[in-house]
Symmetry: C2
Subunit: 338 residues, 2 copies
DNA sequence: CTGAAAGCGCTTACAG
DNA sequence: CTGAAAGCGCTTACAG
């Protein structure tokens, strides 16, 4: 394990001062250097296998070209495409994304946040928003460039990039009403999350518009087990049973599907079911799940773009960028049989 | 955006030299400091909201406490649990994982590798192995602590943590043979990957042991579209058709399932089908897919542990840690009808 | 166009 | 137990 060559090594071998080597090696300043000298320096650098030490540069410039990305749960298929979108915009600009999983745990999240602060990240992209969120407040107090993706805070403090929750849920309810459903229940996401809140509100407005009585069961997390539990509550309590169920996301819908089967009922014959996000392979389910396609990758790219604006010195306006969603009809929704 | 407080600020306010502040703030050296003084320094640090600048520390200690993690495709459900396993072992030890997506693209991968080298990572965990892999060679030449996960190189140069490909495929073929299948095809993963290679070899040995003639179609990538194409080739060429198909992973199996349907056939009535990895929600497919469960999370934790050993000064022995797998029987496999 | 110098924020051997 | 000093590998205003 040889010691890695430094800029001084390159300079010495090229017979120049390290300041000159620095200028030659940095594309932004290489114009200041005599072309022949620059070429010689580049050649030596290549020969030595020199890579600039980003750590030293960061210390000097007080910019690390890193961005902290906090994700609640990477195994939720919603998030990997967002991460890729973020990375694909950030990387060509020289930034490295420091992705951390919080497991939906406030303590882990705070620990990661502090670590990333210590690592002097130039900005944050937070997918872990809760409507009231101490970390977002903290980032705001410190004046750190930040963008929220998917989940926002109330009141908004930073730019937010999100799918159109309201339009998506409204389209779902309209579709079910059109099929003839008059008893439509909602398995809500956690109301502590802006998405859970927004989708519930949209559901309430949409059923009201159709003169349908509301029926909401809140889940504890966006997960299949939570969906299973919530659906069981619906099946145990409701009389008569709903003929359609609007789940706040696909994972909840998958859990609900299991509960419906466990209860001896079938989808869509007894109960129509819808999800949200349109995660991969819903097509292959039995039945294929009607869902709302959210442009996940674009959620990532747009949030990265907004963060770049801020890191380039733009103001942190708490604007909301809402991306369009699309209802994807599949076999899990059908006219009611009762 | 106030300037963040430095150790000198803390020292000044506490009335000590910054060296003393440094000792007090570092748990490993705080024993060298008068307890009362240390307490005062800690209090000032807290009051100022001081967080040590990891960048500066790294420059001084020439350890960044970062690990580069190269993942071929984060949207392949195999990888997120691995990443979480890695993170959950590394984070408590003070390490931050720098996760990068390579999109199965050698150029992107090299670019990320160089960036991570520039960021002075203390080690690498590579899930992007190909059997011959310039980056792995490069890491080896530079003497950088490295562990391969899931995919190895030939010859081995670093520790590898992998699921038991051979046992998994053998169990699959044995199961199909037991059901009475005598025409069993294999949709192989890319042979440039150790997993594709190992699974194909296991398939060939297993069918030979049952006196079944081999039939292999190689896919270009571990993806559903590639599985679709490969299965189409089988359906177009083979006469008679196989009664069972062993796919090299779940995504390939999903693609194959689509091709089988598109061809007017049904699974498992006409063709039994198996996957590998046991990604989430295979239970909910129609039919539920028989697969081989790989302990993905443990693949991550074990590889992180092996990396920590190396970074703590242990040798980079090219040992292979093989984790046990388990055949999970579901509805996609049944006795042959013909 | 190039060099000499200062300094980013830490840590750590060396004195005392 | 504490301080003074050097130095990690860069960048950049300042001279020339």
């Amino acid at each position: 394990m040889d010691k890695r060559p430094t800029m001084s090594d390159v300079a010495r071998l090229a017979g120049v001062h390290k300041a000159t080597a620095s200028r030659a090696l940095n594309p932004a300043t290489s114009g200041q250097v005599n072309p022949a000298t620059a070429r010689r320096i580049l050649a030596v650098a290549k020969q030595l296998g020199y890579t600039p030490n980003t750590t030293a540069r960061s210390l000097r410039t007080s910019r690390t070209l890193t961005v902290g990305v906090l994700i609640p749960d990477l195994t939720n298929p919603l998030f990997p495409p967002i991460v890729r979108g973020i990375e694909n915009v950030l990387f060509p600009r020289g930034y490295t994304a420091l992705v951390a999983n919080t497991d939906n745990d406030a303590e882990r999240e705070a620990a990661h946040f502090d670590t990333l602060l210590g690592r002097q990240v130039d900005g944050f992209i937070l997918a872990t928003g809760r409507r009231t969120h101490p970390l977002v407040q903290s980032a705001h107090d410190r004046g750190i460039a930040t963008v929220l993706v998917n989940r926002g805070t109330d009141p908004p403090m930073f730019p937010l990039v999100t799918g159109d929750d309201t339009a998506g849920i409204t389209a779902v309810v309209d579709h079910l009403a059109e099929l003839g459903h008059r008893r439509i229940a909602h398995l809500a996401g956690p109301v502590t999350l802006s998405t859970g809140h927004a989708r519930t509100k949209a559901y309430l407005n949409a059923v009201a518009a159709h003169g349908i009585p509301p029926s909401v069961v809140e889940t504890s997390t966006y997960s299949a087990p939570a969906g299973f539990d919530a659906m069981r509550k619906v099946l145990d309590a409701a009389d008569p049973l709903p003929t359609a169920v609007v789940a706040a996301n696909d994972l909840i819908a998958l859990g609900a599907l299991r509960a419906i089967r466990a209860h001896g009922l079938s989808c869509p014959d007894d109960i129509s079911l819808t999800g949200f996000n349109d995660m991969p392979f819903l097509d292959e389910l039995s039945p294929p799940l009607t869902s709302v396609r959210v442009p996940q990758y674009e959620l990532g790219t747009e949030s990265a773009r907004l963060l770049l604006e801020q890191m380039d010195g733009g103001p942190a306006v708490a604007k909301t960028l809402t991306l369009p969603v699309r209802l994807v009809l599949r076999g899990s929704t059908a006219p009611p049989s009762r």
